[in-house]
Structures are given as structure tokens and as C-alpha cells.
């Protein structure tokens, strides 16, 4: 019974994402970004025809990471603004009343929504990311070393953010939950950059800012792992300490312990969301 409810609600959430304007705006933003990047990469090749292969790889890696950051930002915005209205909005409008008066557990409905959003967000990241890889390959002939790992980490980042969005949406209004989720996402990214700069400068206090923020909200840690998977492995060795702390280059992939923490984080936040939702009067 519960599994059927989860599947029904997940399918409904995907249908909602497909039919509402979110998908169209996402598709449009993505196409614009991909087109811009295609143009940029082709110019890169044309203008700097005289680059050595190492320099070309460096430029391609860095620009690819920059564009992938844009994609992950679109995914974050899209899922956060989809996750927000999905619980808070439905409670506010009354849609939730008729659904939750059915023989369903609230936790099953919540899990269904989460699953639908995860499928939607991950599907978007993977499709858009693949398209971007193909563009880079066609324009500058660069193919990332670990595309599958990188895309999986990006999908995980989206999942973390939408799980947070879902938690917020059981407690605060739909718009506020979207804004807070995206705000926290941005703040963690900035804290991550600050931490990386601290690392380059050898300042432990500053490094801790990045480490703590990466634990509290694992989006940035996953993002740095994804970057590491996309960039040429030889780059950092080639560049030396001057490029340490660069916001669009990463010096290491995520450790298994960090991935385990991320999975636990998602489980904990989802459990907390179920608890808040269960206690909420509609």
C-alpha cells in the first residue's frame, strides 16, 4: 500500500514538473546557457589557435566547470522552486486536504514527492550535462576524465538541495522556502571558496569556514567533487600553488566518508521533514 502511494505521488510530481511552467523555463534557460557556451568554446578555439595542448586543456577544464556551475545553479533554482510549492503551496491552496484524506500515510506522500523531484532534478542535470560535454567535445575536443562520477555528484548535489527545500516547505511559506534554499546554496558555495582560499594561504581558521559549511549543507562539497571529475587530472600539478583555491578548479574528489555523510544527511533531513509534516495541522 505504501509503495503504491509513493509511486503514485512520484509519478504525479513528475507530471506536475512536466506540465507546469517550471520545465519550460528550465529548458529555455538551459538552451540559452548551452548555446552561449557553444559559442564561447568555439571562440576559444578560434581566437587562441596557438595554445599548447596543455593550455587548451586548462582553458577547457576551467570553462567547462564554469558552465557546469551554471547548470547546477539552474538545477538548484528549478528544484528549489519546485520543492517549495509542492508541500507548502499545496497546504496553502487546499490541494493537500483532498489527497491526505485518502488512506495514505503522510510520510509516503512526502517520500513520493521527494522521489519525483529527485528523478526530475537528476534527469535534468544528466541530460543538460551530457549535452554540454558533447558541445565541449565538438568545439575544443575535450572530454572530461570521469563524466559518470561527475554527473552523479551533480545529481547528488541537486538531491541535497531539494531535500532541504522540502524540509523548509513543510515549515515556511512556498516562496520563502525556495528563496532560503537557494540562498543557503549560494552561501555554502561562497563559504567553500573562502575555505579554499584559506587553504591556499595556509590559514586554518579560514579553512574551517569551508569545512563546517560543507558539513552543514553538503552541496558545495559535492560540487567540488564534481569539478574534480570534470577537469583534466594533470592540471593542478601543471599549475602549481598559484592556482590553489581557484573557485572553478578542485584539488580532490570527495572521500567515501564524505559521501556516507551526505547520504546520512539526506536521510536525516528527510526524516525530520516527515516528522514536521506528520505533526502539521492542515
Amino acid at each position: 500500500m505504501t509503495a503504491r502511494t509513493v509511486a503514485t505521488v512520484a509519478a504525479l510530481t513528475l507530471q506536475e514538473a512536466a506540465r507546469r511552467r517550471v520545465l519550460r523555463s528550465l529548458a529555455l534557460l538551459t538552451v540559452v546557457l548551452l548555446a552561449l557556451s557553444a559559442w564561447g568554446f568555439s571562440r576559444l578555439n578560434a581566437e587562441f589557435g596557438g595554445l599548447t595542448s596543455g593550455e587548451a586543456r586548462l582553458a577547457a577544464s576551467m570553462v567547462l566547470n564554469l558552465v557546469m556551475f551554471g547548470l547546477s545553479l539552474i538545477a538548484a533554482l528549478g528544484t528549489a522552486f519546485l520543492a517549495g510549492p509542492t508541500v507548502a503551496g499545496e497546504i496553502e491552496s487546499g490541494i493537500a486536504l483532498a489527497v491526505l484524506a485518502r488512506p495514505v500515510r503522510r510520510s509516503a506522500v512526502l517520500l513520493g514527492k521527494w522521489l519525483g523531484l529527485v528523478l526530475f532534478g537528476s534527469g535534468f542535470v544528466i541530460l543538460a550535462g551530457l549535452a554540454q560535454f558533447l558541445i565541449v567535445r565538438a568545439t575544443v575536443g575535450y572530454w572530461p576524465p570521469q563524466p559518470v562520477t561527475g554527473l552523479a555528484l551533480l545529481a547528488a548535489q541537486t538531491t541535497v538541495l531539494l531535500t532541504l527545500g522540502l524540509l523548509l516547505s513543510t515549515a515556511i511559506s512556498p516562496m520563502a522556502s525556495g528563496i532560503v534554499a537557494v540562498g543557503l546554496f549560494g552561501a555554502t558555495w561562497v563559504a567553500g571558496v573562502v575555505g579554499a582560499v584559506g587553504e591556499a594561504l595556509g590559514n586554518e581558521g579560514v579553512v574551517r569556514v569551508g569545512t563546517v559549511s560543507r558539513m552543514l549543507l553538503p552541496t558545495d562539497g559535492l560540487w567540488r567533487g564534481a569539478m574534480h571529475a570534470f577537469q583534466d587530472p594533470a592540471i593542478l600539478g601543471m599549475l602549481g600553488p598559484a592556482f590553489e583555491g581557484h573557485p572553478f578548479l578542485s584539488d580532490a574528489g570527495p572521500t567515501p566518508a564524505y559521501l556516507a555523510w551526505t547520504a546520512l544527511w539526506i536521510g536525516l533531513v528527510l526524516g525530520l521533514t516527515a516528522l514536521t509534516f506528520q505533526r502539521r495541522d492542515l
Binding site: T5, R20, A98, A101
Partner: protein
């Protein structure tokens, strides 16, 4: 979760035989009421919304829930359906404790705030609710359900373009689609035109014929009076009165317009029943089945006391008058 016992479907055994006997015994018992609730309490911050509400809705019975705005009617309904957590009290739906979501498997609900997924079509909303209630309702039956509420030709249209009245009609179809044994309707006619109200009345009477229990919250007292078997009147979160319509409305009264009423004459009037006076208009409440001689005797005595009798009008109290009377005088033991 379905409440099935282990051993079901096993080869016949001593335990199986005992189980069969127990099931036969259970089947022989009268069906549990559609709704049973006891001592419901709910407080929102400092505001007490529901304060010790208990009532029962029998199988196939239509119960009207009446009361002024803020009396706690919608809160009670939401507690019954598990949408609001009560601070105290117990609820059983169709014989199962309401804490078990499966208790709602055969319950249909039209909320006061009716909104459905605007990106779905009317037919898709019904199909969704059939899936969520784990029922097997063929597509044709779902279409018939839409036809019952007058939306047969809008089945394929998205809800985004529906008027409020049409959404409420759809809500009624949603409440009816999964073959419910209990239907809870919270203000089902609030957005409907007179024609729609008549349709809802027909739907209610059809449900009654099929032995489906209905809990109806409505401000339209005429509607309630026409279709309900019993009424529960809530006021300030408490049950102010409850009973069958005959019990609540059985009281009769006699209205008189009198002149030259002396103190003994007024005492004679008061002796006949509870007396209210506005100028020269007097109303005497009479018992449900007064003697045929009560009114003629009263008039004869009044004339004997020198009263000028201008008009004598026997009347039956309408539910509306009764409701206002109960709400103005406040809950009392007499009403329970």
C-alpha cells in the same frame, strides 16, 4: 497495516478454525457506526476550537452538522479525517481507529477549501484519487461519476480553466468516486447556483438510498432540514444540541395576539408552556404532542379572564428558529 491476521490463507488448522469462528462471530455483529468520536478537544494557541465533542453517525445515516461561524465544525471534520491532530479524544471510522490510514479507505471527502491539481484534467483527478484509495473502479464508472455532478463533457479539460462552481462539482465527484461507505461534505454547496444545490440534494438522497453514511456541514438550514436524519448543533466548540429532526423540531408553539392582558391572564399563559412576550404578541411553547384541548382551553380561560383575543396561530418550529433559539439561550441540559 491492513489489519489482517497471520495465518490467513494457510491450510485449515485448529488455529484456522478458531479464526473462522471468530470471523463468523464478528460478521454476525451489527456493523460498526460510520463515525464514532468521543471527547474531541483541540486548542489553537489560546483559542479553544473544539471542546469535548462526541457523536456518532450510523451506517446509511445522514447527519447534519450545524452551527455559527467559528463553532468548530470544520475542525471537527478535519480531526475525523486525520488532517488535524486532536489534543484529546478518540475517533473510529467504519470500525477502525482513525490513526490507521486504512480507516479512510472507504471515506470520501469534499473539503470546505476545495482545490485540485490545476495541471490535471477532471478525469485524471478522479483516476488519481481512485489510485490513492487503492480501489479498483473501472474507467466507465469514473466517467459516470463525473456525469452525476454534471461534468461529463469537461472530463478531458484541465482544471486551470474551471470556475469555482465547477471545481466544487468536481470535488463532489472526487468524494464519490472510490465507492465510499462514508461521505464527508464540508459546505458542499458554497459555490453552487440554485440548480447545483438541487443536484447536491439529489446526490445526497441517492447516497441515502444506497445506504452510504453522510456527514454534512452546511449553512443552508433548509437543505439540512430536507435531507438529514439527525442534526448535531455545535456552538463555541461544544455540542449545543443533538437529536433527530423529530426530537429537535417536535416542539410546537402557539402564537397569540392579545389585548388587556392582566397578571392572572399572563400566569395562565405561562402555565400552558414557556412564554415569551413582545408587546401584544405572545408565544407559548407547547409539548411535542399537545392534547387536542390544550389550545381551546387556554383561549376559553383567557376570554374568561377578560383578555381580548385578536389572533391565535398554532405553529411548528422550523430548524432555523430552533437553531437560533439554542444558540441564543446557550447550551443547556434541556437541549441535549
Amino acid at each position: 497495516m491492513t489489519g489482517r491476521t497471520a495465518g490467513e490463507g494457510d491450510a485449515p488448522s485448529a488455529g484456522g478454525a478458531a479464526l473462522d469462528a471468530a470471523q463468523r462471530l464478528l460478521a454476525g455483529l451489527p456493523a460498526a457506526p460510520a463515525v464514532w468520536c468521543s471527547g474531541l478537544r483541540k486548542r489553537y494557541r489560546r483559542q479553544i476550537a473544539v471542546d469535548g465533542v462526541s457523536f456518532t453517525v450510523g451506517r446509511g445515516e445522514i447527519l447534519g452538522l450545524l452551527g455559527p461561524n467559528g463553532a468548530g465544525k470544520t475542525s471537527v471534520i478535519k480531526i475525523l479525517l486525520g488532517l488535524v491532530r486532536p489534543d484529546a479524544g478518540e475517533v473510529m471510522l467504519l470500525g477502525r481507529p482513525a490513526g490507521d490510514p486504512y480507516a479512510r479507505a472507504r471515506v470520501g471527502y469534499l473539503p470546505e477549501l476545495f482545490r485540485y491539481q490545476p495541471w490535471l484534467t477532471a478525469a485524471e483527478v478522479l483516476a488519481l484519487h481512485v489510485r490513492l484509495s487503492h480501489a479498483a473502479v473501472p474507467a466507465q464508472e469514473q466517467r459516470d461519476c463525473l456525469a452525476t455532478v454534471g461534468l461529463a463533457d469537461r472530463a478531458g479539460d484541465r482544471l486551470g480553466g474551471f470556475s469555482k462552481g465547477m471545481q466544487q462539482r468536481l470535488g463532489l465527484a472526487v468524494a464519490l468516486v472510490a465507492r465510499p461507505e462514508l461521505v464527508v461534505l464540508d459546505e458542499p454547496t458554497s459555490a453552487l447556483d440554485p440548480l447545483g444545490r438541487a443536484d447536491v440534494r439529489d446526490v445526497l438522497l441517492a447516497l441515502k438510498d444506497r445506504d452510504v453514511a453522510v456527514l454534512l456541514n452546511s449553512h443552508l438550514i433548509g437543505e439540512v432540514e430536507r435531507v438529514c436524519d439527525r442534526v448535531v448543533i455545535l456552538d463555541k466548540g461544544r455540542v449545543a444540541a443533538s437529536g433527530t429532526l423529530a426530537e429537535l423540531l417536535g416542539r410546537r408553539e402557539v402564537r397569540l395576539r392579545l389585548g388587556a392582558v392582566s397578571a392572572p391572564a399572563e400566569a395562565r399563559l405561562a402555565a400552558a408552556g414557556r412564554l415569551t412576550r413582545h408587546g401584544d404578541a405572545f408565544v407559548v411553547a407547547l409539548p411535542a404532542e399537545p392534547d387536542l384541548t390544550t389550545v381551546p382551553d387556554l383561549v376559553a380561560d383567557l376570554v374568561g379572564l377578560g383578555v381580548r383575543v385578536h389572533a391565535v396561530e398554532p405553529a411548528r418550529i422550523s430548524l432555523e428558529e430552533r437553531l437560533l433559539d439554542i444558540l441564543r439561550t446557550g447550551p443547556s441540559e434541556e437541549h441535549r
